[in-house]
């Protein structure tokens, strides 16, 4: 049970469901937002781009967290859903000249549709069989894109799109793009956090914990399993749409099975089933990756006999090792560690309650 800060007690369910209880927590949130607003002006350019990519990945990983972590439906096709969103967004922007605030949700819907199609088997099969269906989605997705008419999704050439515009302001600068993707990430995190405490969120958790019992208790399995995929894929699609506007070029090669696997890794390291975990996981893994890429040249200079590529490829060993170690020693991920630390601060100086 969560240990609450001193002096917090509830007299209504509504209060018990809220995330923020004390003025101190509200202040911290506001400070976080101010920090996010000021970030592009205080950090060097390289870090700003890194934060933008992280924000996009965060949206995708949040979706995976909802499908896999919250609802327990293993999904190895998140990158395909992201790709679907990116291609649909680009196509809507190019062929129908929709502004970004319509084309990105449009991409999300297209991805949700794909998610529903490949999530449908979830009713009949579960567990690892589901991993296989979503893996099939991941393998079939590029083949689908490549075989559709090139005016739809650009076939093998990919699609290049115009920068997003608000009125006459063109979002093209690093700062502008940062605000676009970070804005998307904040809105989607807000949705994700709120989903966990809604009726839908509880139904999803019920079907993760035991779907037969959930069905007996009146949770409509077909509806909620499909919904879990639809929501997860929609997040991926939105992430894909942001990606499309961020890079302004989408291609099939950007959305591989390998990326999907990395997203799963982020969920595991962050902590399955926790929205905060998705945030931790994305930042930890992507941060680690960026760190290795930055340190790589320096390290290969310091240890030349190991070869230049060893440090970049070493990332795989680190990530694979980290996933295995987390599953063995800390299956609840960083989010659990974080709450343990938080609790021990709250009950300090007592060792436990």
């Amino acid at each position: 049970m969560a240990v609450l800060p001193c002096g917090v007690h509830f007299s209504a369910y509504k209060e018990a469901k809220s995330f923020l209880h004390t003025p101190y927590q509200w202040t911290s949130l506001i400070i976080l937002f101010i920090f996010l607003l000021l970030l592009p002006f205080i950090l060097p350019a390289k870090l700003v781009s890194m934060m933008s990519i992280m924000a996009i990945l965060l949206v995708v990983v949040l979706g995976l967290q909802i499908t896999t972590g919250l609802s327990g439906q293993i999904n190895l096709g998140q990158s395909a859903f992201m790709g679907m969103g990116a291609f649909a967004t680009a196509s809507l922007a190019i062929n129908f000249h929709l502004p970004f605030w319509l084309s990105i949700p449009g991409g999300g819907l297209a991805a949700a549709l794909l998610g529903i199609i490949f999530g449908m088997p979830a009713l009949r099969v579960k567990g690892f069989y589901l991993a296989l269906t979503t893996m099939a989605a991941q393998v079939l997705f590029p083949l689908l894109i490549l075989n559709l008419p090139s005016s739809w999704f650009g076939s093998s050439m990919g699609l290049g799109l115009e920068p997003a515009k608000i009125g006459s302001y063109v979002i093209q600068s690093r700062t502008g793009l940062y605000f676009l993707v970070m804005g998307g990430a904040v809105i989607m995190s807000f949705f994700a956090f709120n989903l966990t405490r809604s009726r839908t969120g509880r139904a999803l958790v019920a079907l993760r914990d035991n779907d037969i019992v959930a069905e007996i208790m009146g949770v409509n399995l077909f509806y909620y399993k499909t919904l879990a995929f639809a929501i997860g894929a929609m997040f991926a699609g939105i992430g894909g749409g942001l990606w499309a506007y961020y890079l302004r070029f989408v291609m099939v090669d950007q959305f591989t099975l390998w990326n999907s696997i990395w997203y799963v890794g982020m969920v595991i390291v962050g902590g399955t089933g926790s929205i905060l975990g998705a945030i931790f996981g994305t930042f930890a893994i992507h941060g680690l990756e960026e760190l290795l890429v930055t340190l790589g040249p320096w390290l290969s200079e310091a240890f030349p006999n190991l070869g230049g590529t060893a440090w970049f490829t070493g990332m795989n060993v680190v990530l694979g090792g980290v996933i295995i170690l987390f599953l063995i020693f800390e299956p609840k991920g960083l989010a659990h560690r974080w709450s343990v630390i938080k609790h021990s601060f709250r009950i300090w100086p007592y060792p436990y309650l």
Partner: protein, 294 residues
């Protein structure tokens, strides 16, 4: 007509190769209930170990092959000791996820040790193709196909007819129950991984003989997944049948349909079959139908 039969036979032989990889997958699954998504990486890893002995350390094949097999068996035991022993009794979700971790880890090691560029794999059997009547076959694949029948038979006998094989099957059915009946779950999982590694290495020898080896070759593991699923995840004899169905179908798609679909039909075929199997008969052709009770 000659062309058609040639395509079908090529598909048949490739299908047996797929079946062998699928068998590695099935052996691990039916002895430990672990779905090994890292199968493709395991195959290539076995290949790289042979490459290390035969090419880099320049050993003759009669020495390199036994050494590599000993090496992969030790590796299999190592994986059980290091990873899966800690996860006995954990949820299926954890077991699937840990193989994903293993997949990334193995690929990382391959990239670090042997580098990303493709290397030339030694010729295990001569590269000269065989002519049988009007048909031409790659020697490695043909011998591999013949060998695979022996392997299927041996594995069938070992897993279905011996006491040892049945204890492994019991572990797959219910690890907790098996443990309480005095069967060592740890040992079963360890043997499963060792056997899986050996089979994968044999498959790698056939698949890679005289070809180039690189980490991307692991995509063959992706094709073996639909084969294992179609066979039924517990069925030894299902594997060659399913392998042949997928292999022949893929070869014929490649020959006749790829021209109309930008060369993608053959790639998509196994996965379309997989989706159909999942929707119609998730336990595959000869798998066990498991009824879930609360």
């Amino acid at each position: 007509m000659i062309d058609f039969i040639q395509y079908a036979f090529d598909g048949f032989l490739i299908g047996l190769l797929y079946a062998m990889i699928a068998l590695a997958f099935i052996v691990i699954y039916r002895s430990s209930r672990i779905l090994n998504l890292a199968q493709g990486e395991v195959v290539v890893f076995g290949g790289f170990i042979v490459f290390q002995f035969a090419t880099i350390w320049n050993m003759p094949l009669w020495l390199a092959l036994p050494l590599s097999f000993i090496c992969v068996i030790i590796l299999g035991f190592f994986i059980e000791r290091g990873i899966f022993r800690h996860l006995i009794g954990e949820s299926l979700f954890t077991n699937v996820m840990v193989t994903i971790g293993l997949m990334i880890f193995l690929r990382g090691i391959m990239l670090m040790v042997w580098g990303p560029a493709p290397k030339l794999f030694p010729n295990i059997v001569s590269g000269v193709p065989v002519n049988i009547g009007p048909f031409i076959f790659s020697r490695a694949i043909l011998y591999g196909g013949l060998l695979s029948f022996v392997i299927f038979f041996v594995f069938y006998l070992a897993l279905e007819k011996t006491r040892w094989g049945l204890t492994m099957t019991a572990v797959a059915e219910d690890p907790v129950c098996a443990q309480s009946l005095g069967i060592s779950v740890k040992r079963s999982v360890a043997y499963a991984w060792a056997l899986g590694f050996v089979l994968s290495t044999i498959a790698a020898l056939i698949f890679l003989s005289g070809q180039s080896i690189g980490f991307l070759a692991s995509s063959i593991g992706l094709v073996a997944l639909p084969v294992a699923l179609l066979a039924g995840m517990e069925s030894i004899w299902g594997a060659p049948l399913a392998g042949i169905i997928i292999g022949v179908g893929e070869a014929l798609c490649k020959a006749y349909l790829d021209d109309y679909t930008n060369g993608t039909m053959s790639e998509a075929f196994p996965f379309i079959i997989m989706l159909i199997v999942l929707l119609i008969r998730p336990q595959g052709l000869f798998g066990w139908k498991i009824i879930e009770r609360v």
